[in-house]
């Protein structure tokens, strides 16, 4: 983190490279695209990154923070390497996703919206992810686990690094 403050880490260089390569310096309209890329690089959007983007695109940092807090896609806190998302959409819910959610909370020892201290797991509830045919559904990073039963939970957790 200390290094990030100095904005010399490889991550900052990559972000800077992206902005330069795409000719986005001073382009206020590119904010969302740049935030996306930054979150991809850093995994989340810490203060230093928002300030960096503010300087590069010449956007007041209060506006950037407004945009970041507006979209639930962006996170200002680091997330775990394995991001569990339990779908609580209608289709999943009627097929018992609330019980899946309870089981995950119990097994991981975390509440919804939390990230483990060792940054191994984070857990959140989401709305319909468009895989209703597989309900109930849990996503881990980009992988979809469908037609789940409570007893499958431990297997899924063990399958993650």
């Amino acid at each position: 983190m200390a290094e990030m403050g100095k904005q010399k880490s490889p991550e900052f260089e990559e972000l800077d490279g992206f902005i330069k390569k795409s000719g986005l310096e001073g382009k206020q309209s590119a904010l969302i695209a740049v935030l996306h890329q930054a979150q991809h690089i850093f995994g989340y959007l810490p203060k230093e990154v928002m300030m960096f983007i503010g300087k590069k695109l010449q956007i007041p940092v209060a506006k950037i923070y407004g945009v970041v807090t507006f979209y639930s896609f962006f996170n200002t806190e680091p997330k775990g390497r394995n991001q569990f998302k339990v779908c609580l959409g209608t289709a999943c819910f009627v097929r018992g996703s609330d019980k899946i959610a309870d089981a995950l909370q119990r097994q991981l020892g975390m509440k919804m919206g939390e990230t483990s201290e060792d940054l191994r797991y984070s857990l959140e509830a989401v709305r319909c992810v468009g895989a209703c045919g597989l309900a109930p559904v849990v996503l881990v990073n980009d992988k979809v686990y469908g037609r789940l039963l409570v007893k499958d939970i431990n297997k899924i957790i063990d399958a993650q690094e």
């Binding site: 928002m50 209060a62 923070y65 807090t69």
Partner: protein, 579 residues
């Protein structure tokens, strides 16, 4: 021109005009809440988010927001039909359903646009019961108090802070029901780049943003028999205080104000104008010194603490250009707690100095670490605004409008016309020129009025011949205008010798602590006129001719810009983070 009818009355207006403006021509007031247009300051807040101003337009299926709908040829508008009134009432009821409604105990009561709106729509009960916001009031700032539960999300503050002041502290955060006007990273205001100008407070329709209220502290001091409480009043206060008591805007109430302050129990009533004269002595001396010794040019005035904090954050590579002079408020404190204590034989620990200021940034300024006397006590103990003084006078049951006039106390109540115009944009510069001219040329300045530096324009310029030198000066008010000038200076494209900057548009007459203008910007010109009239009425109009100032130098300070003067009356600036 476009012809239309409003409530079946024909009217002709220019192209591009809104229904709201067209209706005004017919003396029809359509209520508004979020909308705010300050023409002279070039500020328009037109987010059309509150829908309080809706009207019926023939041929249109839904109601139209009058503040954001342009007129067209043949348009037929109805502004107060039962449908419209019902819709308006519903909108306001919905706003109130998520509002604390504790008007009886609210800092803004009787001066609140939401309260007035509810009253004018005759709202007696609210049908909607909904979720209530639960924001914690934020009190980190010395100047600005935030209670976001009272926010109606009109975004006037954001428009003011970002478009007019270009400080960009406040913006909308989160979404939906959770939307809140906040700072970057939810920083406390005290840790943000906020300069405490209070212009957001000046335009906030409710008590979501208000001044940090020091009234009860002031009463405590006044009630303390062990203290000798003295007061100083800033130039712009006298031009606006009367408004709080129904006097016409632009009434100069100096004499009544002095009487009222004595009735409130202040032991001595002094004038910041005296310290304004002192500031001119030091600033003019510093300017002459800089010109003679090749110091940094341009020199920027430094009487406005909002502006000082702005440059400390936003142009922190240019901190050698502001004058090192403290502001008049702090000069007054520095002299009161050294010279005056001796002269009036008041023990330092007994003296309490309260300032009455048109300004919220002065509350912050008084608390700055560097503003201490050599003995380590704060130069100014407490700052209240014009609005707070008005409330105290009301609390004390004083019938202000009928008061007799009285005079300030000596020696720090005497001032010249140069001191009084400090309250208007361009005034400091004009006052400085009156003195600098005579010092540099050794000749008497006959024509003391520098009219090109007066008025509400955001940037004013003049070139003044002083001896064989052409002195280029500029005055900017409003921080967006200041930014403009500073960028020009930084780029080496503007060749000014002296620049005056005031954070508030129009100068201190429009300070964040003045009686609310509620969008009626015409009163700013009237307040300005009151100060220039006061200047004309003064027998002495040049700071260096103030006999009490001369005496202060003889008895205590020595020369302007002497070592002693530098120790007491000059300061340093702090490089601050820019976000």
């Amino acid at each position: 021109m476009v012809s239309l009818t409003i409530n079946n009355m024909p009217v002709q207006v220019e192209d591009g005009v809104t229904i709201l403006e067209a209706a005004r021509k017919l003396n029809i007031d359509i209520p508004t809440l979020c909308h705010l247009e300050l023409h002279d300051l070039k500020m328009v807040n037109q987010v059309a988010s509150c829908r309080v101003c809706v009207v019926e337009v023939k041929g249109r299926r839904n109601l139209a927001p009058a503040c954001a709908t342009q007129v067209f040829e043949g348009m037929e508008v109805l502004t107060h039909t039962p449908t419209v009134i019902k819709a308006r009432r519903m909108v306001v009821e919905l706003i109130l359903s998520n509002h604390p409604k504790n008007c009886l105990m609210c800092n803004k009561s009787t001066d609140c646009e939401l309260q007035n709106l509810a009253a004018s729509l005759g709202i007696f009960e609210i049908e909607y019961v909904g979720q209530m916001s639960q924001h914690k009031p934020e009190q980190s700032s010395r100047a600005i108090s935030r209670d976001m539960n009272k926010c109606v999300l009109c975004r006037r503050c954001e428009t003011m802070c970002s478009k007019v002041q270009t400080v960009n502290v406040l913006s909308a955060m989160e979404r939906g029901f959770d939307t809140v006007m906040g700072t970057a990273f939810n920083l406390p205001m005290a840790d943000s780049t906020c300069v405490n100008c209070g212009q957001c407070v000046a335009v906030c329709p409710t008590a979501a943003l208000t001044e940090v209220n020091n009234i009860s502290k002031a009463w405590d001091y006044l009630a303390d028999d062990g203290k000798i409480v003295i007061v100083q009043t800033a130039p712009a206060v006298r031009a606006a205080l009367g408004e709080a008591f129904g006097l016409p805007p632009g009434t100069n109430v100096t004499g009544k104000m002095v009487t009222a302050l004595r009735m409130l129990g202040f032991n001595k009533v002094f004038d910041t104008d005296f310290a304004a004269d002192l500031t001119i002595m030091e600033e003019a001396a510093e300017l002459v010194h800089r010109i003679k010794h090749g110091g940094t040019i341009p020199m920027l005035t430094s009487c406005c603490p909002g502006w000082v904090k702005f440059i400390e954050h936003q142009f922190n590579d240019m901190l050698d250009i502001p004058s090192s002079c403290k502001s008049p408020q702090q000069m007054f404190g520095a002299i009161a707690k050294t010279y005056l204590t001796q002269k009036l034989n008041i023990p330092l620990e007994k003296m309490v100095l309260i300032s009455v200021m048109p300004c919220l940034a002065k509350k912050y300024e008084a608390s700055r670490e560097e503003h201490k006397t050599p003995e380590g006590v704060q130069e100014v103990d407490l700052v209240i605004t014009t609005r707070e003084l008005a409330k105290m006078i009301k609390e004390a049951g004083i019938n202000f409008a009928s008061l007799a006039e009285s005079d300030f106390d000596d020696p720090m109540g005497a001032s010249t016309g140069a001191g009084v115009i400090f309250g208007a944009s361009g005034g400091v510069l004009e006052a400085a020129l009156r003195t600098a001219y005579e010092w540099i040329t050794g000749q008497k300045l006959e024509k003391v009025d520098f009219t090109s530096l007066r008025g509400l324009d955001g940037i004013k310029e003049a070139t003044v011949k002083i001896g064989d030198m052409d002195v280029n000066v500029a005055a900017a008010s409003g921080l967006g205008n200041a930014r403009h000038l500073l960028e020009c200076v930084r780029a080496g494209e503007c060749n000014y010798h002296v620049i005056e900057i005031m954070a508030c548009p129009g100068g201190c007459i429009d300070g964040g602590g003045q009686p609310y203008h509620h969008g009626n910007i015409g009163i700013l010109q009237k307040r300005t006129n009151a100060l220039y009239q006061a200047d004309r009425d003064k027998p002495v109009r040049k700071s260096h001719e103030n006999p009490y100032i001369q005496q202060l130098y003889q008895e205590f300070l020595g020369e302007p810009y002497s070592e002693k003067a530098k120790e007491l009356l000059h300061t340093t600036y702090t490089k601050r983070e820019l976000m």
